[in-house]
């Protein structure tokens, strides 16, 4: 809807304001509006200036670790995306807004920082935090075994005191959890507990070298075996991808922004129930629609010739 107003200087009508014109456009903008109880945080995977095959493979594997509908993978190079530099995040913020993603991973490769991943999040259409990691010892997922897991909601295991004490490790834990946990659900099928993402600090490689902070990132399938009790016995199978990540640059969220962003909403407030839409285990989301009773007489069926009405001979 355009607002038309008289400009006192010109004495002519001019258009000054734009809003969504169609109902569809309105619905779209409303779907992008801030929510009291938020929907799932989507993940955006994209490339920086230059990439290596390893970085490309890593991003593809990360994509497979998220639900297909909750992840966007942009496969073009982005000259302008250098999030740690001033003004290098504008394009990233734009793309996150466009794909409605709250988390992102930027993959790049340079001589100085080979096989580079930048994990980060967006809050209020601005980059919230950044964490740069180098990929080492990357191994792709084993396709035949990866097929066995299907749950969009993985388990997470973080072992080590560093995840409680070290700022970088803490940030990694937070960003990994945020990027890969998927939907917040009220209930879960126990069969869906079928994979775990494991993170643990690794001993620095090489002697005499300055101790690099590194993390082992592993992805296991959970096999629930009979144990004779109610609780099954857990067996893990390394399905990949697996990689070692070493810490590079990082930027934590500003304190005031963090305070605002990590605010807890009233737990009593739940998302408004959508009418006539329900979730079904087998069928997924099911919608109920109302159809007008069909008028059988009006249906244009093929009529047999014999039934054709003819003028009656007098």
């Amino acid at each position: 809807m355009a607002k038309k107003g008289k400009d006192p200087r010109l004495g002519v009508t001019r258009t000054t304001k734009f809003e969504a014109k169609t109902k569809k456009g309105k619905r779209f903008l409303e779907s992008r509006a801030a929510q009291q109880v938020e929907y799932v945080k989507r993940l955006l995977l994209l490339y920086g200036r230059k990439t290596s095959q390893t970085v490309k493979d890593v991003l593809v594997e990360l994509k497979h670790m998220r639900d297909r509908m909750e992840c966007t993978h942009l496969t073009r190079k982005n000259e302008k995306i250098v999030p740690f530099e001033i003004g290098g995040e504008t394009s990233l913020e734009f793309l996150c807004g466009k794909t409605h993603s709250g988390c992102f991973v930027v993959g790049s490769h340079s001589k100085k920082r080979p096989n580079n991943l930048i994990f980060g999040r967006v809050y209020d259409e601005k980059v919230y935090d950044l964490l740069e990691m180098g990929v080492e010892n990357f191994r792709k997922a084993v396709a035949s075994e990866a097929k066995q897991v299907f749950s969009p909601k993985p388990c997470f295991a973080f072992a080590g005191e560093e995840f409680e004490n070290d700022a970088d490790f803490k940030q990694l834990k937070s960003v990994l959890l945020d990027s890969f946990r998927g939907r917040v659900v009220e209930s879960i099928n126990l069969k869906g507990v079928d994979r775990v993402i494991m993170c643990t600090p690794a001993p620095s490689s090489g002697q005499g070298e300055v101790a690099k902070k590194r993390v082992l990132l592993r992805h296991y399938a959970i096999k629930l075996k009979k144990s004779g009790t109610r609780v099954p016995r857990v067996e893990l199978l390394d399905i990949g991808p697996s990689m070692d990540l070493c810490f590079r640059r990082s930027r934590a969220a500003p304190v005031d922004v963090e305070k605002e962003a990590v605010k807890k909403v009233d737990e009593a407030i739940k998302r408004k129930k959508v009418k006539n839409v329900s979730d079904d285990v087998m069928d997924g989301t099911v919608g109920r629609i109302w159809l007008k009773p069909q008028d059988i007489n009006a249906v244009p069926l093929k009529k047999p010739k014999g039934k054709k009405s003819r003028p009656v001979d007098a």
């Binding site: 010109l10 304001k17 801030a34 295991a157 072992a159 879960i188 507990v193 004779g228 962003a261 990590v262």
Partner: protein
């Protein structure tokens, strides 16, 4: 300790023994682990066994992950469960780990002028049925919208009232009134938006307005402040030119449109480019005064004794194209072909 708990502890111990034999896995006491079931997250805040990791990182990592996953599974299986189509579902508690939101918490919708007034006066919105009985049509119809009750478009005759102005068409009056009501409501809506933006900034506006940022002038509701830093302010003449161009921007390039009032404003400013003095004089004067002065000036230049000769003969000669002076030869008639001659002879 209940039998169930004892049994599970026994299993844990047994597994710990079988697992711990080679790798020296720390037995996972539930109390040291931090479990966030809502996120399916287990954290072990105790330091890792560096030596064991250095010896065989893969095996050690898997062993630690197994025991942590086991602890989580144990916790999940202890929750009350319901049967599902396949397997059983358990209710999860809300996630404990705080993560940043994606967008700020929405502000409560600011009250409109009417809502404020209604609140003050204690006017409560009254719910009305969607369908009402239409006496003309004899059936139930929607109260508002398409195919509604007492739709003026469906009424063939409107009975005249005493208060009616004579000669006025009631149908067009209805149409006019409706248009006026719509216009006024739009004005009210915009005023409410403006007030909301003044009080609470851009975020107080509905998403349909605040998010429509791809389009120009999205912040118009917020302020009437000048241009942004680094942005050139349009001059008056530029604005005028723009306005005129816009007023002419129709399919016919303004040929059939009313002339804009602005055009006068801008044309006044333009100076005369060529000036023509009148040639003919008024009354008995055959030649006008300006024209006479010009002629006199030229004549004086030519005939005055001291003046340089104004005619440069050499230059003047060059101006003449010698080709134009050439006398053309008379054309000799073209010789006719034999056929042509025959045809002419035959025609005669």
């Amino acid at each position: 300790m209940t039998t169930k708990a004892r049994a599970s502890k026994m299993v844990d111990e047994a597994m710990g023994a079988s697992r711990g034999a080679g790798a020296g896995t720390p037995s996972y006491d539930e109390s040291t682990l931090e479990v966030d079931e809502g996120n399916l997250l287990v954290c072990d805040p105790s330091p890792v066994d560096r030596e064991a990791f250095a010896a065989d990182p893969e095996a050690k990592c898997k062993a630690v992950a197994t025991s942590m996953a086991q602890a989580l599974v144990k916790r999940l299986f202890s929750f009350p469960s319901q049967p599902a189509v396949s397997g059983r579902t358990v209710e999860l508690p809300r996630p404990k780990t705080l993560l940043p939101r994606f967008k700020p918490i929405p502000q409560p919708k600011p009250l409109t002028r009417w809502e404020k007034f209604a609140k003050e006066k204690g006017i409560v919105k009254r719910k009305r049925e969607k369908y009402t009985f239409d006496e003309h049509a004899g059936e139930f119809k929607r109260r508002y919208g398409y195919d509604r009750v007492n739709d003026i478009n469906d009424v063939a005759i409107i009975e005249a009232k005493l208060t009616d102005k004579p000669g006025e068409d009631p149908f067009s009056r209805h149409k006019k009134d409706k248009r006026e009501r719509v216009r006024k409501q739009e004005e009210r809506r915009l005023a409410n938006l403006k007030n909301a933006a003044k009080a609470g900034g851009k975020k107080a506006l509905p998403a349909t307005v605040s998010l429509a940022r791809a389009l120009p002038a999205a912040d118009d509701y917020l302020s009437s402040s000048g241009p942004q830093r680094g942005q050139k302010r349009a001059t008056k003449s530029e604005l005028l030119e723009g306005a005129i161009a816009a007023s002419e921007a129709t399919a016919s390039m303004g040929k059939f449109d009313k002339k804009s009032k602005l055009e006068g404003a801008i044309s006044k400013k333009r100076g005369k480019r060529q000036q023509f003095a009148p040639v003919l004089g008024k009354g008995k004067h055959a030649v006008s005064a300006q024209e006479r002065d010009l002629i006199e000036e030229t004549v004086r230049k030519v005939i005055s004794a001291g003046s340089k000769p104004i005619l440069d003969v050499g230059k003047a000669v060059k101006q003449i194209d010698p080709r134009s002076l050439r006398v053309r030869k008379a054309k000799t008639p073209k010789k006719k072909s034999k056929k042509q001659r025959e045809r002419e002879a035959g025609g005669n």
